[in-house]
Symmetry: none
Subunit: 212 residues, 2 copies
Amino acid sequence: MIRITIIEDNNFAKTAWESTLGAEKDFLVIGSYSSFEEAMDSGSIKKSDLILMDIGLPGISGIKGAEIISGMNSKALIIMISVQDDDKSIFGSLQSGAIGYLHKSVSPEELIDAIKLAVKGGSPMTPQIARRVLKSLHKFKPKYSEENLTEKETAILNLLGEGKSYKKIAEDMFLSVDGIKYHIRSIYEKLHVHSRAEAVNKGLKLRILSKW
Amino acid sequence: MIRITIIEDNNFAKTAWESTLGAEKDFLVIGSYSSFEEAMDSGSIKKSDLILMDIGLPGISGIKGAEIISGMNSKALIIMISVQDDDKSIFGSLQSGAIGYLHKSVSPEELIDAIKLAVKGGSPMTPQIARRVLKSLHKFKPKYSEENLTEKETAILNLLGEGKSYKKIAEDMFLSVDGIKYHIRSIYEKLHVHSRAEAVNKGLKLRILSKW
DNA sequence: AAGAAAACTACACATTAGTGTAGTTGATAA
DNA sequence: TTATCAACTACACTAATGTGTAGTTTTCTT
């Protein structure tokens, strides 16, 4: 028996889900609320196996809510439901602990399948959203290529990131200020940028500069 | 008609897939090879809509292969097939451009469905693997801190990272240059820095700035 | 409604940054 | 040897940055 809590401020949708899921024999809707605060107060979240939550909740948003639920040591699975599918909503939800992301337009059958899939260890979401999640992984891939900085350039880039002036860097590295400028020109050229901030930005994103 | 290339060193599996996919009326297997090098030489990769590739290939591995294919401007979808389920294989593949990840034990029907799903914009993979991909996103979750920047400040910090001048930022945000300076003062104070480069650096490290 | 805080605008000024151009030196390759 | 190239040093100049100080407007708080 899968105990489910529904959090959705739109009464129409809420009622629809209640009856859809209530009719399923393996599901038990143990609570249904219009705001995260209510659901929290009721204590039904702690007793749930799965939580179906709208993103656009009044007060505490669905994303914040997911974060709170994940924060308490609940093993409840969270499926987000949204009308939006912008990066912020999708990644915000998934990073906050949601394991599924559905469109508000899901059919009753799809909703039921999604919940079953979630319980079986899957991550229900539309193919398009899944693809976007995958694509986001590309961004974390280390790059190399001819944009490789020399050791000295990397060291300078690090100091640039610390906000040191050319003069200070020159002192640190026992070079003239113009010597530093010389290297910085190369760095900018290799990274295709024209300022320190951009260089540091790219350096971190391309994993040339270490994270910590 | 979906043109498919198969790359698999195990002849047994290769033959099985050939016949499975060849029997499907929307699929056309245009090539079938035992190594990435062969497939590459044949030119069939460039003509494919979808590539079914084993991870454990002799010579150039499936992951390297995926990287190479993604590197050339091919629009071919790559589905990886593996016996292994370790992080390196999964994330290596997906970061290298594969959009699906299947176990070698897939049934013919599942394989066919997976290909159809991929073509429709989805990302075929087992529920368990999907869940693991999701969990990996948690690592990139923004750290919360009391040094929380306002929405406007975050937006400005982003633009600072792009190397835009105060003037440009002011235009972008419909504020005066001094208005921008006002916010930047706050940003610097909150992050305890005194320059753009430092601010961007900290912003990225504290995950205030995101990568997508 | 009054007061306080936050969100701006404004001006000034010393530093720093970014870039063009050019010369020097030492190592390396043809 | 001679030419080339990377790694500097040097100078000049404009644009941009960082910061101090001060005034105004908008938005909350009570």
